[in-house]
Amino acid sequence: MTNDTVTLDQLTGWLTRFRDLVTDQVSYLTELDSAIGDADHGSNMTRGMGAVIEKLQASPATAVDELFKGVGMTLVTSVGGASGPLYGTFFLRIGTEAGPVATLDAPGLAAALRAGLGGVVARGKAEAGDKTMFDVLAPALDAFDAALVVSSDISSAARAAHTAAQSGRDATEPLLARKGRASYLGERSIGHIDPGAASTALLFQALSEILDGE
């Protein structure tokens, strides 16, 4: 069976699954952040996504832009650190690009995610190889787009994005950090996976699992 659109329910499910994954892996994310940061990425993401889902359960969104703008603002106001503005801007831009619709087709979702990436770059000014969430987002979206050239099935595109996200995450391990707190470590940042890259990989795992109906 192929899937060429994604519904508001599925997108809400994506966010809920992301909340579950960061919550399950809170210790793992915090451990990565202890090695090269300040040991708060797991708890910050868990707190932020917890607030997002709580709000969505109290008042479910009625359109895609409303959904993601709400998510973005909640993350900006509840996470702090660098993750708040970066993830917040990512979702805010997705919402703006998607507009007041109830479903997104494959190119629509691809364009929205691409706009989200643009927001992350504008806010964080990261480039490829800086050892940040960019190193997962960019290859994951490239893989998503490439898969859509072959087939309009969103599920298989999301699987491809997830695979690329995992490779991107693992590829941050040997990199020298050039952005964020990890950059203060210089050479000592080498040999550790970037925590933001790891949580971003969970975002694509969540998308892939939801679209596969897991």
Partner: protein, 332 residues
């Protein structure tokens, strides 16, 4: 982890209750986690707003009061406050003469203050100026890092810019003084132990007995290198020499701070201060004013930092002006 807390989740909220109870001269907005002066900003006075993650006390909340800050936004431990807090505080403290945002150079702080200033610009006509403090010589200032961290100079800057605002200088002039302090101040720190973030429950990094971490920041982020523990004279040399190599401090009066990181007793800070003075004297640096104590801390980290500010007549005059805050108080 042994800490005097009720639970890791309530540390910030509980501490703000204590701040409000102990200091009637400040007012705490517990919902938005903002510490204000109890009295509103005098009309026509430039307001100073700072903030950051908590765990650095007395910075920043302990520096709210006459002669220093008008408000401080408190984030979670070691986590920047959020843009809605900066927007709210900016609206409350503006006395019609604009607001100076004092931001320590950390990726999260810079992004959150930037979004806060964007929101303030979009929603209000309040004039906001920003100064980003980046004085830590331990970090290479290059395009390959997030830039130098904001550490000890922040304390001196909040005091001096606060006095300038109190005198009635306008926003451009207060911001100019603040930038002068940032450009003329340098710091370097050393850790003898890691610190334990309450929510993490264990030390952020491992520092074996007999070793120290040179160039450490104020969040338990590891420094640049690890060396065998040495005596105070040698540690003073390791901290002061990189500062003097970075900026020429001769030929001007300086303000020197030896700051404890939270887990080092004052007696050791005075031992360090004596050694710092010897290194400075040998290098021909004139010390005009001194500050020794715990002013910008990293929870329970043992260790200290040295900050040297190249001053002039105006900066010394502003430094000597009265200040009445929980963390710094003289001349009143």
């Amino acid at each position: 982890m042994k800490k005097l807390i009720n639970s890791p989740e309530t540390v910030l909220a509980d501490s703000l209750v204590g701040v409000a109870a102990a200091h009637p001269e400040v007012r705490v907005d517990h919902v938005n986690r903002i510490i204000y002066r109890a009295a509103p900003t005098r009309a026509g006075k430039v307001a100073l707003l700072s903030g950051g993650g908590t765990g650095h006390e007395p910075l920043h909340g302990g520096f709210v009061g006459v002669g220093m800050l008008d408000a401080a936004c408190a984030g979670a431990v070691f986590t920047s406050p959020t843009p809605d807090q900066m927007l709210e505080a900016t609206k409350v403290v503006d006395g019609g003469a604009g607001v100076l945002h004092i931001v320590k150079n950390y990726t999260g702080d810079v992004m959150n203050f930037e979004m806060g200033a964007e929101l303030a610009a979009a929603e209000t006509g309040i004039e906001v100026a920003v100064v980003v403090v980046n004085d830590d010589v331990a970090v290479e200032d290059s395009t390959f890092t997030a830039g130098r961290r904001g550490v000890g100079t922040t304390v001196l800057l909040e005091k001096i810019a606060g006095a300038a605002a109190e005198e009635g200088r306008n926003l451009a002039a207060v911001a100019a003084v603040a930038r002068q302090v940032n450009e003329s101040g340098r710091s370097m720190g050393v850790a003898l132990s890691s610190c334990t973030v309450p929510a993490a429950g264990k030390p952020t990094f491992e520092l074996p007995e007999g070793e120290m971490e040179i160039g450490v920041g104020i969040h338990g982020e590891p420094g640049r290198r690890r060396v065998p523990l040495a005596g105070a004279a040698e540690v003073a040399r390791l901290l002061v020499e990189p500062i003097l190599a970075d900026l020429d401090f001769t030929g001007a009066p300086t303000i020197v701070m030896v700051n404890g990181l939270g887990g080092t007793p004052l007696i050791e800070l005075y031992v360090m201060y004596a050694e710092v003075r010897k290194v400075l004297e040998a290098a021909g640096v004139t010390v005009a004013r001194s500050l020794v104590g715990n002013y910008i801390t990293a929870l329970d980290m043992a260790g200290c930092s040295v900050t040297i500010l190249k001053a002039d007549e105006d900066l010394l005059h502003l430094w000597d002006a009265p200040v009445n805050t929980a963390g710094l108080r003289w001349g009143i």
